[in-house]
């Protein structure tokens, strides 16, 4: 049972403020006060955040930190032109530096391409783009290995990328990159759309599951919709997943985010309510069932 392994439960800064900056110290207190173990800091604009500040806030509030990347326009490690690739490589190395300083075990996110890029009509183009992604992420992985940091690559649903939609495609990309410190971030919101069977997908990934984000089928409070949660948590148990689980949603009030993830309506009465109820749901799902007590 996963809670015995001691999974940390975290909250994404996307639920709190965007872009997240050095002025958001109060967010650390909110997350800690709600009872979370971890805060997932999304590095939207590295110039607005400093790693030392994050480390100080984390230490002050007793929270662990997970570092996650945001791949808006320009941050495309698999772009056809070398200059764009170089820019994305620089950004990802910056994320690794953040992770190393704050003690995050990984950099997580859909780092293989810009999110919501133009669709490619030709499978040959996608194959080429995946090869460029593998090449670039191999360089990032080697850099990260020097700090003991891992890469957790996130498949996204069909409307956000056409490069890596399913866990199976994620496993393939990990194979192409072929580094020990490269695995997957799995997100239940995307899995709901793309996986034929969510539990089977988790078990197929097995030890490659480095990180987990929990979100309801409408990006609302985990437990309030129709994600097959029991099957999901059982499958995490099956693979002996001991890593963090992060509650993720997005502030519909931030225009840039609303556009990026197509979220135009509040998915809970308030983001605080989503965070508090989401935490309670994840904690209770991680509790051993009676069947497990000997």
């Amino acid at each position: 049972m996963t809670n015995v392994i001691g999974n940390e439960v975290g909250l994404s800064t996307f639920v709190l403020a965007s872009p997240f900056t050095d002025n958001d110290a109060a967010s650390f207190d909110r997350v800690a006060d709600m009872g979370y173990d971890l805060i997932e800091v999304c590095i939207e604009d590295p110039s607005l955040l400093s790693a030392n500040w994050i480390a100080e806030q984390a230490s002050r509030t007793g929270l662990a930190v997970s570092i996650c990347g945001a791949f808006g326009p320009g941050r495309d490690i698999s772009a056809a032109d070398a200059e764009t690739r170089e820019g994305a490589l620089h950004y990802l190395k910056t994320c690794v530096d953040f992770a190393a300083t704050v003690g995050s075990p990984h950099v997580a996110g859909p780092m293989y391409a810009v999110t919501g890029g133009p669709p490619m009509r030709d499978e040959a183009q996608r194959v080429e783009k995946r090869s460029r992604a593998a090449l670039g992420l191999g360089l990032v992985a080697d850099y990260a290995a020097g700090f003991g940091v891992r890469l957790a690559i996130e498949p996204l649903n069909r409307f956000e990328t056409d490069l890596v939609n399913t866990v199976e495609q994620g496993i393939e990309l990990c194979g192409l990159i072929d580094r020990k410190n490269v695995g997957l971030l799995i997100d239940t919101f995307h899995m709901n759309i793309e996986e034929k069977n969510i539990g089977d997908a988790v078990r197929a990934a097995g030890d490659l599951v480095f990180h987990v984000q929990v979100s309801e089928n409408d990006r609302g409070t985990p437990g309030s919709g129709h994600i097959p949660w029991e099957e999901f948590f059982l499958s995490l148990q099956d693979i002996g997943y001991g890593g963090p689980l992060v509650v993720e949603s997005f502030l519909p009030t931030v225009q840039e985010i609303a556009r990026a993830v197509s979220l135009w309506r509040p998915v809970a009465a308030s983001m605080d309510e989503l965070a508090i109820d989401g935490l309670a749901f994840v904690r209770s799902s991680l509790e051993p069932s009676q069947d497990w007590v000997i």
Partner: protein, 279 residues
């Protein structure tokens, strides 16, 4: 108890008579046709329907940026209304009962004007179109789309509010289980909420493949439809796993959506209907 139809949109550019024959052979009662009357050969369609012993069930409207009911350009709004009227005429000629309706261009996810203004334009257009449909003996079915395909009406509760505001017996609610799988907390409960307002149904699995090829449990969904005393069509709008569906259909196509999914979809539902003792 249900009447079954299959949406030929996913057959792409294949001649329509081949698609109609495939749908009929798989055991469907009807064929759902793409709303492009200007490109359609009415003689070919009616001949194929009659030769295969099936009827035209419904017309699925295609809302491009040039056919946007809530465009900030008045001319575009008018074109969208004229387009839907064309589909209603097309349905009437073919004897189809339903024309689908969504008041934004597909894949447009950013409002051009404020949402209240757009809602008002959509209500005015739907009111006019429902009247037009009534005269033609056809019903409009309002289909909420998921967040990646529209921003205005994504959920059942919004659609029902819209339908009640228009207040016409010729404007019904339409359930599409793929969109609902992204937007609704409980698909069956939303269908129950629609009740007698349910006028058209698209079944697709969580990944937009044929029911049975994803992870949705269709038993409570079918039960809810039956409990709504639904007399309309059970249709299947299955589409490839891509954001750019048109690109796939224009390019490599989607072969599994022809024979394999056409046959699997109806068989899957019929098995549940039988299991639930609804037949």
């Amino acid at each position: 108890m249900f009447r079954y139809t299959y949406n030929t949109l996913v057959y792409g550019r294949e001649p329509i008579s081949i698609g109609i024959e495939r749908v009929a052979l798989a055991g469907y009662d009807g064929v759902e046709l793409v709303g492009e009357p200007a490109d359609a050969d009415l003689k070919e369609i009616t001949a194929a329907l009659s030769a295969n012993g099936v009827v035209a069930s419904s017309i699925v409207s295609i809302f491009t940026p040039e056919r946007d009911i809530v465009s900030s350009t008045a001319g575009t709004r008018q074109k969208a209304i004229d387009y839907v009227k064309g589909n209603i005429d097309y349905a009437a000629v073919l004897g189809a009962e339903i024309v689908t309706f969504t008041p934004t261009a597909c894949m447009k996810i950013v409002p051009e004007s404020n949402l209240d203004q757009e809602w008002d334009w959509a209500i005015a257009a739907a009111t006019e179109l429902a009247d037009y449909a009534g005269t033609a003996g056809v019903r409009l079915a309002l289909e909420p789309w998921n967040r990646y395909e529209t921003y205005l009406i994504t959920r059942t509760v919004q659609a029902l509010k819209f339908i009640d505001e228009v207040g016409s017996p010729n404007l019904a609610y339409m359930a599409d289980t793929f969109h609902m799988s992204l937007e609704e907390a409980d698909i069956a409960a939303s269908i129950t909420l629609a009740g007698a307002r349910l006028g058209h149904v698209h079944l697709a699995d969580s990944n937009r493949a044929a029911p049975g090829f994803g992870h949705l449990d269709f038993r409570p969904i079918i039960s809810a439809i039956a409990a709504s005393d639904y007399k309309g069509w059970i249709s299947y709008e299955l589409l490839p796993a891509a954001g750019d569906v048109w690109g796939v259909l224009d390019g490599p196509g989607a072969p599994e959506f022809k024979g394999p999914y056409t046959e699997a979809a109806i068989n899957h539902t019929k098995a549940i209907v039988s299991e639930l003792g609804l037949d």
